[in-house]
């Protein structure tokens, strides 16, 4: 079996970023496996701009952002295989993959970085009553038809869910001449970025109906309409508020699910909130030598943070391969529920660490505190936090001395 120092699963921004970071840290024997016919991951179909403000200080489109990384991967001759689907990973880091040239093959890796991204939640997960006609797509699928294939999935659109892909597609479909009648969001707030609501809905007078959902689907062959309704505080539809909207297309932007089927084959422990791996500050999972970064670890709204995380994973994988080590500790991170999760979930080495997290609701004038017992280790104030936007807190290594737990809580002032 072929031996390789570092195998990276997925050639999106996370996979490419991790490969470059590992290369810069001295690893040469690297292989990126990507199932698509090009590098770039989901960015390939995100032809709108808004990428790279943090990382490069300028606004790029998705493909432009991806190309900055791909160019470096090519310049440094980091090997990658396209149209290559990884089918299995064992906890001993044996990888089984398939493509048209090599057939089904196996590799023994010293370290693995999981960078498989995420997929969209589909209609079936929602159990919406009604018929099952053509015309219902997840927003990303519609984006693929429009942006990559050049076809229009429909002309009269309702969007369920105000995730970023849904918002972006509301604008895209409008620009292509379709009429977007409404974006319905189950929650009393949007899960998307504030700037996307402004630029994709408000600028085009598309109504955002908060606390609304689709309760029934109509039409036998092609979609003919949907019934929407307002929901009460328990998210139950209120029958008197039912409203029929004729439409031929329903786009779903109802959540992204990290693609961790492979992680499971490798016995990687998953976090029930993020649906991604439980990791330490190095983005190492609980299986030694297997790392994770990007949307497979937790869903990011900004690719800039994906790249940041990829740097960490790539560098750490290099350190693992070369057997480097820093001073150990073991700190378990926990949250209060208002803060839904943290990444990392554990701190095992004493070095500067940035903890990323998401909140459960919209809160104003908040203080976010990291405490160990009675001791406040770190804190941060924010005028507003929302579930759609990832937050972070950076801790210096010396703050980690003498503690073995770190609890994150949010206080409203």
């Amino acid at each position: 079996m072929r031996q390789i120092n570092l195998v990276i699963i997925g050639g999106g921004p996370a996979g490419m970023g991790a490969a470059l970071a590992a290369y810069d840290a001295g690893v040469r024997d690297i292989l990126i496996l990507e199932r698509d016919s090009a590098l770039g991951g989901i960015l390939q179909q995100c032809i709108h701009n808004g990428f790279g403000l943090h990382r490069f200080g300028e606004e790029l489109t998705g493909p432009e952002y991806a190309w900055r990384y791909e160019k470096l991967v090519r310049e440094k001759n980091i090997p990658f295989l396209l149209d290559t689907m990884v089918l299995d990973i064992t906890s001993d880091k044996v990888i089984t993959a398939t493509n048209a040239t090599d057939g089904v093959f196996q590799l023994q890796a010293k370290a693995v970085i999981l960078a498989m991204g995420c997929r969209e939640r589909a209609r079936g997960a929602l159990n919406i009553a009604g018929t099952r006609p053509a015309g219902i797509y997840s927003a990303g699928t519609a984006q693929k038809y429009v942006n990559l294939k050049g076809y229009m999935p429909g002309k009269n659109v309702v969007i369920l869910g105000s995730g970023d892909i849904g918002l972006i597609m509301a604008r895209r479909m409008t620009l292509e001449g379709a009429k977007v009648h409404a974006v319905c969001e189950l929650m009393p707030y949007s899960g998307g970025l504030a700037r996307n609501i402004e630029q994709c809905l408000n600028d085009f007078n598309i109504p955002l109906k908060l606390s609304h959902t689709v309760v029934e689907i109509h039409g036998k062959e092609r979609l003919e309409g949907v019934t929407i309704a307002r929901v009460d505080e328990h998210r139950r539809p209120i029958p008197e508020t039912r409203e029929y909207i004729p439409c031929d297309t329903l786009l779903l932007s109802v959540g992204l699910i990290p693609e961790n089927e492979l992680s499971k084959t490798a016995s990687v422990t998953l976090d029930r909130v993020t649906n991604g791996a439980v990791v330490d500050q190095d983005r190492q999972t609980e299986v030694e030598g297997i790392f994770a970064c990007g949307n497979v670890l937790h869903v990011h709204d900004l690719v800039d943070f994906v790249s940041e995380e990829a740097d960490i994973a790539g560098k750490s994988a290099a350190a693992y391969i070369f057997g480097e080590n820093t001073e150990c500790t073991d700190i378990a991170l926990s949250t209060d529920g208002k803060i839904r999760y943290t990444v990392p979930q554990r701190i095992t080495h004493k070095k500067d660490v940035t903890v990323y997290f998401r909140v459960a609701d919209v809160y104003r004038n908040v203080t976010i505190k990291g405490t160990s017992g009675e001791r406040v280790i770190c804190q941060k104030k924010k005028p507003r936090v929302a579930p759609g936007e990832m937050e972070s807190l950076t801790l210096k290594a010396d703050l980690l001395t003498g503690i073995d737990t770190l609890h994150f809580a949010l206080e409203e002032r």
Binding site: T98, T101, V146, G177, K220
Partner: protein, 478 residues
Amino acid sequence: MYDITVIGGGVVGGMIARTLSSYRLKICILEKAHDVAMGASSANSAIVHAGFDAAEGSLKARLNVRGSEMMKDICRELGVKYQNNGSLVIGFDEDDRATVEALCRRGIANGVKGVRVIDREELRALEPNISDDAICALYAPTGSIVCPYELTIASIGNAMDNGADLYLDFKVTDIRDDGDHFTVFSDREQIKTKYVINAAGLFSDAIARMVGDDSFTVHARRGEYILLDKECGTLVHHTIFRTPSKMGKGILVSPTVDGNLLTGPTSFDIEDKTDKSTTADGLSLVIKQSGENIDGVPFGKSITSFCGLRAVGSTGDFIINMPRSRFVNVAGIESPGLSSAPAIAEYVAQLLANSGLAMEPNPDFDPHREAMHGFREASIEEKNAIIQKDSAYGHIICRCESVSEGEILRAIRTNPRPRDLDGVKRRTRAQMGRCQGGFCSPYIVELLANEMNVPYESITKFGGASRINVGKTKEAEA
């Protein structure tokens, strides 16, 4: 001129056509939909019932037990997934126990092998996740599961490989008796045939009326299901029914042959025979009742919900007869119609022979059809041997179910050829996984369009107006 025309491309019509194609007969199948297996045969519980349900002495009981005995071999010949997982009918109180015991006696009378009543401990040992409130169960070791649409597709494909013709989009609107033959009409075409076999499911009463037989009616009874991710497929190993009540058989929980978990069906009579919608109440009932039977059914892992329509006949039993010469009704085939289908075909062949049709064996008849899932289940070495001959088998299109381009192309080129996304789905499992085609459907549309040499935007989900795309984007048009 055909010898035999079978109306209806469901599992019953398919099995009949296949059985008759083993004789020297010129056969055709007429199906109104864009593909075969679009009726009850694609949306049901997929259970090969052991045979303890139907009343002793009924045609249902007899054909169920016989069909279930034949099923394993037929699935092997046709390369269809079949699994003998056993069935359990669980009871919660002393009334249920009495019913379970009565079912057991009926099973024994119907000739079902190995049925017996088991107590709480044995039940718990067989199924650790069963509700603590269950006190006894009927255990039927011969109960099995099968892939119903695969069985339908394979039987029709095999009939075609043995010479039968299939006409899709052929909705029978009238039948004229021309003395020594019938002329069967659609809006656009007509076909001459000596015999007609009416296997039109829900609409078999309408077909019978076309030749003046109004001795029965068929109405629709809705059954809604929720299907869960493969992660949940091992929650139970047997098919778990609850004790039937006046309200019907209730909600079952069962693994499928592909490793998903199936829960359902509801049971509501409805007027509109074309209404395959699910209802909010129905789906809630599925969730509630499954939870009563099994602890911790993870409905958060639902991947789809759907509805099948039972064709309930007015006589209470299967209606298989010849109301006039050269015309056979195979109607009111509700559950256990899937289980009985092989035996129904055998019975119909006998009926035809008795009526004087010359039935000479077809020396070229080959009962085999290559399994569609063969590649998926092959070893790495076997896969590589295939990929070496055809590299498309190395290229994965459907990521959730790991279906390769080679398998999809092969399905598109195999009888009965699919022409739409749902057709490819039923044959290959591509789009059937957890993302439900989110990733791969744009590519499958492309493969279909190329193979059929039609424009990309003409591809549909299941024929008719179910187009996937309505046109080109501005840029692509320019």
